[in-house]
């Protein structure tokens, strides 16, 4: 197994001192940069790491070549754990993994000639016995990166940006490493120099069998050199896989947002118009880690799954709200049971006063009477459903809006249903309440955006809980739905349709809503 993997990271974590929060005396408190990264690179493999500023991609690159020491996790190079090796023990290994930096201007010593810069690692690692031997190797390396021996006589400032980056590459491959980590090495270059460097990397990879970890903010650039890609957000890998597959059908909302944001060189007059008004403003999104969440209907079904997933993802505190807390056992010290019936509007106001630290409100409580509109009790059923699904959600949003504002904006997740978009026969009143709740969600979103609150509508198909068994199959796993909702919170996505079924129906609705309505009308259980 080990022979097919060159570099492997498992649960890699990194914390660094946060000097912006350093007290006048005493050490800077640590800030978590990487939250458990798993990756594997085979010899000759290419992995792209994409993400925006602050995603942790550069820190990941530096940790992989042990410029940082990981706080936790395993880091195996060629089967050997290098996570905690001392610098002395690392030194002989360093020749095998090299890093090329973003800014060649500042990573090349301005006082030394190019030939000396490229020869330096050869001398340090005793790869050249004589000056003449070093020079011979340097000339070969310069030629390898499509420069002439004459470039060796120059100083870095006498070269163009593209030429300087070639010098960085020549220095990195001087010791014939097996892995190169390249951090944003084409971001400062214009199109033609960029294309030349990318073509060079492809060649080197082919000719030298180099494994390459290629860090970039630009998915288009990653596609040109990498077979596989990992998308990072807030120190986590949100998606990983083959470039061709991920770029054709991204699964994570953040990957989709990144892809949609890139302006491809095709004329597209609707591009500006499709940047919705609410996207013209600054991004609304938040970290689930360290959030203080309140989940309604938390003692069973999707609500219970939310509590578990929030714990996994590092929420600081979770108010688990339910009608009665009798017999409820909190799964973790961070979970605070909270008696809250969302049809009791006085109690909602109290809860908002009691839970003044909430940053993430998850309106999950819902009722489904599972009866058709033609039922004798339809009016009562509809009122019961509206009381929880619409009025309950509305009061929660209304009372907790100011709490979220006081805590910096935060997010609201409203658990709706695919049936908010299309009515399913035999449970027509329930669908009506969910459609009303979707409209409510849009209204809340519009009103609270100005205070920095993200409002997410989650519209899954049937979920594998007691409530879901009347809906069309397949049944989604509650934890998957909860994870998808929290992904949306972190990516700033507003409407999501978790699961293959919901995704398909939402596309169908976009293409031909009438056809979907007819298809659902034909689905008469029993």
């Amino acid at each position: 197994m080990a022979e097919s993997v060159l570099l492997e990271a498992a649960g890699l974590r990194l914390s660094l001192p946060d000097y912006s929060r350093k007290p006048p005396f005493g050490p800077a408190p640590p800030v978590d940069i990487l939250h458990g990264i798993d990756l594997a690179i085979a010899p000759g493999d290419t992995l792209g790491v994409v993400g925006e500023s602050g995603s942790g991609k550069t820190s990941l690159g530096r940790t992989l070549v042990r410029l940082h020491r990981p706080t936790a996790g395993r880091l195996l190079f060629d089967g050997r754990d290098i996570a905690n090796l001392t610098e002395e023990r690392l030194r002989p290994l360093r020749a095998q993994f090299q890093m090329i930096f973003q800014d060649p201007q500042s990573s090349l010593n301005p006082r030394r000639r190019v030939a000396d810069i490229v020869a330096q690692p050869l001398h340090l690692h005793g790869r050249a016995a004589t000056r003449a031997e070093a020079r011979r190797q340097v000339d070969a390396l310069l030629e390898r990166v499509a420069l002439r021996p004459a470039h060796g006589e120059r100083y870095p400032h006498e070269l163009s940006g593209g030429e300087r980056q070639r010098i960085g590459i020549a220095r990195a491959i001087a010791l014939r490493p097996r892995l190169v980590v390249a951090d944003e090495i084409v971001s400062g270059l214009d199109m033609s120099s960029q294309a030349q460097i990318l073509a060079l990397l492809r060649e080197l990879r082919r000719d030298l069998g180099l494994a390459l970890l290629f860090i970039s903010h630009d998915l288009s650039v990653v596609r040109t050199v990498c077979d596989r890609v990992m998308v990072m957000l807030n120190g986590r890998a949100v998606e990983q896989g083959e470039c061709a597959a991920i770029f054709a059908s991204p699964r994570h909302p953040y990957t989709r947002r990144l892809l949609n944001a890139i302006p491809l060189p095709d004329v597209d007059p609707g591009w500006v118009a499709r940047t919705a008004d609410n996207q013209l403003g600054e991004e609304l999104s938040m970290n689930v880690k360290d959030s203080v969440a309140l989940v309604t209907g938390a003692n069973r079904g999707v609500g219970e799954a939310f509590v578990r997933v929030l714990l996994d993802r590092g929420a600081a505190k979770i108010y688990a709200a339910m009608r009665s807390t009798d017999g409820y056992e909190a799964p973790d010290g961070r979970v605070r049971p909270l008696a809250l019936d969302v049809t009791d509007h006085g109690r909602i106001a109290e809860a908002a006063a009691e839970c003044g630290d909430v940053t993430l409100l998850i309106n999950n409580a819902g009722v489904n009477r599972n009866r058709p509109i033609s039922d004798d009790d339809a009016l009562r059923n509809a009122r019961d459903e509206m009381e929880v699904n619409y009025f309950g959600t509305m009061e929660m949003c209304r009372r907790f809006g100011p709490v979220l504002a006081a805590n910096g904006g935060g997010a609201i997740v409203n658990m709706l249903s695919l049936l908010s978009r299309v009515n399913l026969p035999m449970i027509g009143t329930y669908c009506g309440s969910k459609a009303a709740a979707l409209s409510l969600t849009q209204g809340v979103r519009a009103e609270l955006a100005a205070q920095g609150t993200l409002t997410v509508a989650v519209m899954p198909g049937a979920i594998n809980t007691r409530m879901g068994d009347m809906n069309p199959p397949p049944l989604e796993d509650p934890a998957d739905v909860a994870n998808a909702a929290l992904d949306a919170v972190e990516a700033g996505e507003e409407d999501i349709y978790p699961g293959v079924m919901a995704e398909g129906v939402s596309q169908g609705l976009a293409a031909d809503a009438k056809a979907v309505e007819k298809e659902f009308a034909a689905y008469l259980p029993g």
Binding site: S192, A261, P265, G281
Partner: protein
């Protein structure tokens, strides 16, 4: 749409512009007879690589002598008036209501020691003669227009307290503050993350459409051009190689260099081996043409 030049009388007309760095016995041409026209309400992309001279054209349009270079020939007509040799005072009068600038680097373009509100208000007071309360009220309105969240708070903040994307929004607000007829946007999104870039591009385009301003949009990114520009000029070695309607340039480029630039632009929707660097022979040919041009136009010292 057609590839024909704009029918309206151009708001900006760069005519046969020559610019060179001279001194110590050397004469290095930067612009070699560059010409372009921008119609009212047109977004005109100016693309080229570093060293092509696109930023120099941007500066000349704003009436700035791009030191150490010197304009050695040609003219820049803004609404029919040559702006190449304005005094500092004349130039200041032109800025604001006539022209605005969206700069590349949002950090260095704002004064770190002044609050955001004061910096916007200063522009309004200087160019529009507004009094303090009116300028303050208009500053708030402008921040709302550029979709800054919690604008009252931002007005009281200093540049280092807000994100790069928000700083760029503030600069867009300043550029549009006095309703100028022409805006020079110099690589305004290169320093931003892609998701923020998309928002800022959409914002510039919407503000432009709402105000009816023209924009000279300087960029090296053909993707950006394809999304927001009406017409494009392709620049290399200070020479205009091609100009035309965006769709024509992107879908049926006439010049080899334009074709090469498109082939050298990475795309996430295509396999990487389709990427083609600009051929060295083409670069060599273009450089030779530039030298031949210099030889034939030696008089522009």
């Amino acid at each position: 749409m057609t590839g024909a030049p704009p029918r309206d009388r151009p708001i900006l007309s760069v005519r046969d512009l020559h610019l060179a760095i001279a001194g110590r016995g050397r004469h290095t041409p930067i612009l070699r007879g560059a010409s372009l026209d921008i119609a009212p309400s047109e977004v005109h992309g100016l693309v080229g690589e570093s060293g092509a001279g696109k930023t120099m054209i941007g500066k000349a349009v704003l009436g700035i002598q791009p030191s150490p270079a010197r304009i050695s020939g040609g003219s820049v007509l803004f609404e029919g008036r040559d702006v190449t040799h304005l005094s500092e005072r004349e130039r200041r009068a032109l800025m604001g209501r006539g022209m605005g600038l969206i700069p590349q680097d949002p950090m260095t373009s704002l004064n770190p020691a002044h609050r955001i509100g004061a910096q916007i208000a200063d522009v309004l007071r200087l160019h529009l003669g507004m009094d303090r309360p009116a300028a303050g009220a208009r500053a708030l309105e402008l921040l709302n227009e550029v979709h800054v969240r919690a604008p009252e708070r931002v007005l009281r903040q200093y540049p280092h307290e807000i994100s790069g994307g928000m700083r760029q929004r503030v600069l867009i607000a300043i550029a549009f503050a006095c309703r100028p007829r022409l805006i020079v946007a110099d690589e305004p999104t290169t320093a931003l993350d892609v998701t923020v870039q998309r928002q800022v591009l959409a914002l510039i385009k919407r503000m432009q459409a709402q105000e009816g301003a023209s924009i000279l949009f300087v960029t090296h990114d053909l993707g950006v051009v394809a999304k927001i520009c009406d017409r494009v000029t392709v620049l290399h070695g200070g020479r205009v190689l091609e100009t035309g309607e965006t769709r024509r340039i992107v879908e049926a480029p006439e010049h080899d260099y334009t074709r090469a630039l498109i082939a050298a632009t990475p795309r996430h929707d295509r396999p990487g081996d389709l990427l083609r660097p600009v051929p060295e022979a083409l670069t060599a040919r273009l450089n030779a043409e530039a030298l031949a041009y210099d030889a034939a136009h030696g008089s522009h010292g």
